[in-house]
Subunit: 378 residues, 2 copies
């Protein structure tokens, strides 16, 4: 049982769809699937504009989201308060851009005011993009995207490029309403399918920047994808079987409805946090900056790795560990994608049993009781 923030659990229906014999990607049947997927991706992204589909991980999607819209020497602001934020600073650096990091301690959200200050000070409009991780998977922190976006909009020139890898389909992200320029995501998250596909939603201001952007690109040239998608095809061979999976998963998501999906993620997050609080396990991120994809826990009396190992060995539940300097200090509970109330209750019940086995003085049943209460309240 996967309780990590990706790969996330995949419904049996989706696995079965994926296991069909591949078809030719230049066939009418493939184009039909691609057309259906394009429509459903727009629905999921709350956008009228095409969402580009890449054969790549989420990192590849973010690279494409950065290099298509900028030129060598451009100045960019990057929000860094976790492993992924830090990674997004490395990409523009590798491509010769001037990178300025806006940091926060890992486990704390970025401060929108710091972005506003930098952007207001940029009277020459030399800042061409602001790169922000919405849900920081490494720490379970949700960054204040709406507020940062307001600062970017006040600047008027810079694009906002969003890592929505673990936020898309897990929390409200109305791309067109907010005017987000570039939003990247990956398949093994809210999409409920295995890894291998990256997505980049691109708005009209970004396409305008694309015309004059000079960073070199070929495989990740989103203009090629845009042209192809208009003809319901892809510039390079797509991962046909993952597209079968995506088609089926999007059908399931539409059947559930976006509001219901987001409400479920909110409920699971609140239930998870109520449960760990009841078990005296401190959440790493504050309540008002809680990712709805993953909850990081920083246990004080028991070693995080001991908990993870026993959860895995005794209950066959995979939790994620900490990354970089948080290795061994935190563990992370994924509740993203195909995760139900029952799944969360299972994880919490197993966590309680694990704590008891490890000799912790927790009140038996307290975690499950707290989670149940939250679930009952909705």
């Amino acid at each position: 049982m996967l309780a990590i923030p990706g790969p996330t659990p995949v419904p049996a229906r989706v696995l079965q769809a994926m296991a069909a014999h591949p078809i030719g990607h230049r066939s009418p049947a493939y184009s039909e699937l691609q057309a259906e997927i394009s429509e459903n991706l727009k629905w999921l992204h709350q956008t009228q504009h095409d969402v580009q589909i890449l054969t790549a991980s989420g990192t590849g999607a973010m690279e494409a989201g950065i290099i298509n819209f900028l030129s060598p020497g451009d100045r960019v602001l990057v929000g860094c308060n976790g492993k992924f934020g830090e990674r997004w600073a490395l990409i523009p650096e590798a491509f010769g851009l001037q990178v300025e990091r806006i940091t926060a301690e890992w486990g704390k959200p970025l401060d929108a005011a710091e972005f506003a200050t930098k952007l207001e000070a940029d009277q020459d409009k030399r800042i061409k993009a602001v790169i922000v991780t919405h849900s920081e998977t490494s720490t379970g922190v949700l960054n204040p995207l709406a507020a940062i976006n307001q600062a970017v909009k006040a600047h008027g020139e810079a694009l906002i490029i969003v890592d929505a890898v673990t936020s898309l389909g897990a929390i409200e992200l109305p791309i067109d309403d907010w005017g987000l320029d570039v939003v990247a995501s990956g398949s093994q998250k809210g999409y409920m399918i295995p890894p291998g596909l990256g997505f980049v939603a691109v708005g009209p201001r970004a396409w305008q920047a694309y015309e004059s952007a000079k960073l070199p690109r070929f495989y990740f040239d989103l203009g090629l994808y845009r042209k192809a998608i208009a003809k319901h095809t892809s510039p390079f061979t797509p991962p046909v079987n993952l597209m079968f999976a995506l088609g089926e998963a999007l059908r399931m998501m539409r059947a559930e409805g976006l509001d219901a999906i987001l409400a479920r993620h909110s409920r699971l997050t609140r239930a998870c946090r109520a449960a760990i609080k009841a078990l005296d396990l401190p959440a790493f991120a504050p309540d008002d900056a809680a990712s709805t994809a993953v909850t990081a826990v920083i246990p004080s009396n028991i070693e995080a790795e001991q908990i993870r190992k026993m959860m895995n060995k005794e209950f066959d539940i995979a939790l994620a560990g900490g990354q970089e300097h948080l290795k061994g200090k935190i563990f992370r509970i994924g509740h993203l994608g195909f995760v139900s109330d029952r799944d969360l209750l299972t994880i919490i019940a197993a966590l309680e049993a694990t704590l008891q086995k490890l000799g912790s003085a927790v009140t038996a049943g307290a975690g499950v009781a707290a989670a149940s209460r939250t679930i009952a309240e909705g």
Copy 2:
């Protein structure tokens, strides 16, 4: 029934392996699979060096194979005698390299002597790489890689970068014996698995060039993959389920044996060509430059698209059409990967029936008879 040069048919065993629930990519079980795959990829590539695995199409693998070893302004020779050769000239151009094309008519092989002349004239050793497509999928032409490689080796400085997308696992390609520096391939071909994975074998001279190469890269930075593979992991989230498929397919390939796989592809190619000759359907590529992955046919009296349509409609067999200026002029029979003698006989029998339905004056049974004879001779 897929008879196109990719995606190629996938064995049921492999589809089943792929449909398993994903596992975490930072788990011991995943590392075990990765370690097994690494060993089997070395076996398939006939190399002692690691083969890097990318979440990307074959084009992504070729881009990685080019941009990791070169710097802006470097001079490269690119062999262009089909759609893919032409594409490999676009990548170094997009990245600001000086590209010189060595061309041949589509349907004819490249001339190794032309490479030799250019390379011998380059006394200053300004040519940093020679990029060659081994099997040109768009035309069914096999280029004289061994002879071109000799010319590159005589030059002494240039790297040879090979597109082996439809030749790896289909024809002899002893990477270490020949000293090939970079060899790129894709999963939906000889590997017998769906699209979504790209592979890049990198030799020691290429790694040396990597150290001083200055083209920008991040997602495709092969140094990151090299470091990760040494620890049986990957720098970014790998497509776990495609890795399940790859593991199973490589087990099947090892069980069959490389010699047997290559002999099968040779036999299928000869049988296919004997059959179309017996059916008065001219092969587009000459016998001595025949790809063992795909046979292109240029019919004279019947429209290629009519044949394809009827094969698809009446016999549920997908053939590939022509690309670019060959659209409508040729059709292509894929016999790459998980294709048996029986499959080829099926394709030829259906092709005969199609020709008869279309009113062609072929001798009934002539194609199957010719293919059978070749198969019987081995």
